[in-house]
Amino acid sequence: MSDPRAPATPRRHLLSIADLSREDVERILDTAASLAASLDREMKKLPTLRGRTVVNLFYESSTRTLASFELAAKRLSADTMSIRSSGSSVDKGESLKDTALTLAAYEPDVIVVRHPSIGAPHLVARHTDAHVVNAGDGKHQHPTQALLDLYTMREALGRLEGLRVAVVGDVLHSRVARSLVQALALVGGETVLVGPPTLVPRGIEGLGCEITHDIAAAAGADVVYVLRMQHERMGEAFVPSLREYTALYGITPERVSPRQVVMHPGPMNRGIEIDPRVADSEQALVTDQVRAGLVVRMAVLYDVLTVAPVESRERAGVA
């Protein structure tokens, strides 16, 4: 179905990893690496996006994603403002479409959107002329998280091609897992998803991964990527208890070998999905991920604003 509301001029968005090619991913990671080098070397601020405006529109709570997008825009000398759903007109019942139209009136160059519903950034992209970056939509996609995870892996292990990653935990509710599987498939990595049958949806192999319910599969991976286990999942009977979940899938020192690295998108539930001894070990790259978040998001802002426009493949490619 063609979308009659799509803008006439194609703009570059980052709505999903499916929007990107392998070259796109590698270019963004390379840009992030050179930004990291120049930030270390010279100053904390680059003039690259002077005069540009970046709006962060956040409908869900967030610490690291919002902070890193704000800081990324500032480090590139863009003007930035952040709108949270609480305390804004959203509290008064303003629709996402109207909020997008209101913000569009200020002619921002980029709108970064986080929202509890799948497709919210796509809707903002339909109704504004800004470049839209998805900072997490429902359980769908969190593409900048996947990019910063790839960046972290490449820095720590020196390669992405052939890398084997075990993603452990609540895959069903995880946009991080979905984005990461797709991103790894793009750059020649392999993913195995590990978790109880109630939390690993059948059919997700279509993203380009294997699935298993046996934690032993994590032993063969280069990277053990631990997902956050949310307490409310018990009330919905996805698992009988956190205790049993931890016993079956918790990442303890016994379950990782010295040659593996451990990652977690945060915030961590220490003692549940990840043992504190693992979280605080040399193998854990959690703070590297946070640092990578800043430079990768700088690279993404730079990329959507400077690289030749292409229409979102995900939207354009669908009948």
């Binding site: 179905m1 799948i118 979905r178 279509g206």
Partner: protein, 423 residues
């Protein structure tokens, strides 16, 4: 009972290739209608259009009373006329619910002024569609209810469903059932399968429908009552219906144009206009539905025309309400996507849109016959048109076909002896 608008009948003539599958007619004829009644049928050389018994839609949401911003009896029946329909059945999940003779009576009165095509109003099975107490079925039947349904919601309690089957035996009316086990569908916005898993959309499994289809078929058989299964979507439901029919069960089923044409792959667009309940399912489900329709195990095509206000659909996928419009596009969509590629014959399509639904609900069958009230549709199979937001007679535009070019157009509709639509 169908409510017919006050007014006079028309006199006119239609000619072309007349296709009336249940009567075994497929020849070029001129049909003369005088004062609403077919008076002459004679050979002709004109074959520019196809003339057929007009369509019957057993599943329409007219949104009146309560949401007249989305649809009214007037706008919905104009849409029906433009779609080639001579009769429609309206759902009772309105505000207030059609669960009393006073609400039903008021609708019947309004329809006498507004209904462009004859309209039957279904009444609820349970008071307020709450699934707790039965409605006063005998009085509702007496006041003109067309059938009983809690459509939009399932009858969750098996005990209440059994009582409804037993008690509705006092009337001649069918129960039309929306089969959904809510503990399986809760939080679901798309078919449980690869697409929902990949996109991270809350899954709505096929079993949420099929376990209720199986339950209701068993109960109906045990109580020796006829039921009608609404908007079937899953191959497991088709298998259950087949098995019941093979045992001699008395059940009918309907399928929508969108379940016949689309699969859950369409959900990748995240377009709220491909969000329906039940959801679009997999390729193998679609194949089972098409096959059941060809065989006649599913005997009705129903649009489940569900108008929604623009602002309610212009939101992210999971926040959007379920439902799409269909009255004005059903024939063209199915002609384009099923008849032209050879999936379904024109004859079968015409039969399942007309005689099939009329029989399922005990309505008078539209026929090409001297002495019959004229219920006829003329179709130009070669005419191409593009579905656009401003092209609808419906007050709503939440169509899954927006922007698509279709082949096949309704040019004339005659309903109960009146010319109700001319392109």
């Amino acid at each position: 009972m169908l409510v017919v608008r006050n007014g006079r009948s028309d006199s006119l003539a239609l000619e072309g290739r007349v296709v009336a599958p249940t009567q075994g007619i497929d020849e070029c004829l001129r049909i003369t209608v005088e004062d609403g009644v077919i008076t002459r049928i004679e050979p002709t050389d004109v074959r520019a259009t196809v003339v057929a018994p007009a369509f019957v839609d057993p599943h329409v949401h007219l949104r009146a009373p309560g949401r007249e911003d989305e649809e009214t009896i007037g706008s919905g029946t104009q849409a029906a006329a433009a779609g080639g329909y001579c009769a429609i059945l309206a759902m009772p999940n309105t505000d207030p619910v059609v669960d009393s003779t006073s609400v039903l009576g008021a609708l019947v009165e309004r329809a006498r002024d507004e209904a462009v095509v004859p309209t039957g109003f279904m009444a609820a099975i349970s008071k307020g569609q709450q699934g707790a107490e039965l409605t006063e079925m005998a009085e509702l039947a007496e006041s003109g209810a067309a059938a009983f349904t809690d459509d939009g919601r399932p009858v969750v309690s098996a005990g209440l469903m059994r009582r409804a089957l037993q008690y509705s035996g006092l009337t001649k009316l069918r129960l039309a059932l929306h089969c959904e086990e809510p503990s399986l569908s809760r939080g679901g916005h798309a078919h449980e399968g690869a697409v929902a898993a990949e996109l991270g959309i809350g899954p709505y499994p096929s079993t949420a429908e099929s376990v209720m289809v199986e339950r209701d078929l068993s109960l109906a058989e045990a109580e020796d009552r006829q039921i009608h299964l609404m908007h079937l979507s899953a191959r497991e439901s088709v298998a259950a219906l087949d098995a019941a029919l093979a045992r001699g069960g008395n059940a009918t089923g309907e399928v929508t144009p969108h379940h016949l044409v689309l699969t859950d792959e369409a959900v990748r667009s995240l377009d709220p206009n491909v969000k329906m309940n039940p959801p679009l399912r997999s390729e193998s489900d679609r194949e089972a539905l098409r096959d059941a329709l060809r065989r006649g195990a599913i005997s009705c095509i129903a649009t489940d025309h569900a108008p929604h206000a623009r602002q309610e659909k212009d939101v992210p996928f999971e926040e959007a309400p379920f439902g799409v419009t269909g009255l004005e596009t059903a024939f063209a969509a199915l002609h384009t996507h099923l008849v032209m590629p050879g999936v379904l014959t024109l004859e079968t399509l015409l039969e399942r849109m007309s005689t099939g639904p009329a029989r399922a609900f005990g309505l008078e069958e539209p026929r090409v016959e001297v002495g019959a009230r004229a219920n006829l549709v003329a179709l130009d199979l070669d005419s191409e048109w593009t579905v656009t937001e401003d092209g609808f007679r419906s007050r709503s535009a939440n169509s899954w076909l927006l922007g698509e070019t279709l082949r096949g157009r309704v040019v004339t509709t005659v309903a109960d002896g009146r010319l109700v639509f001319e392109a």
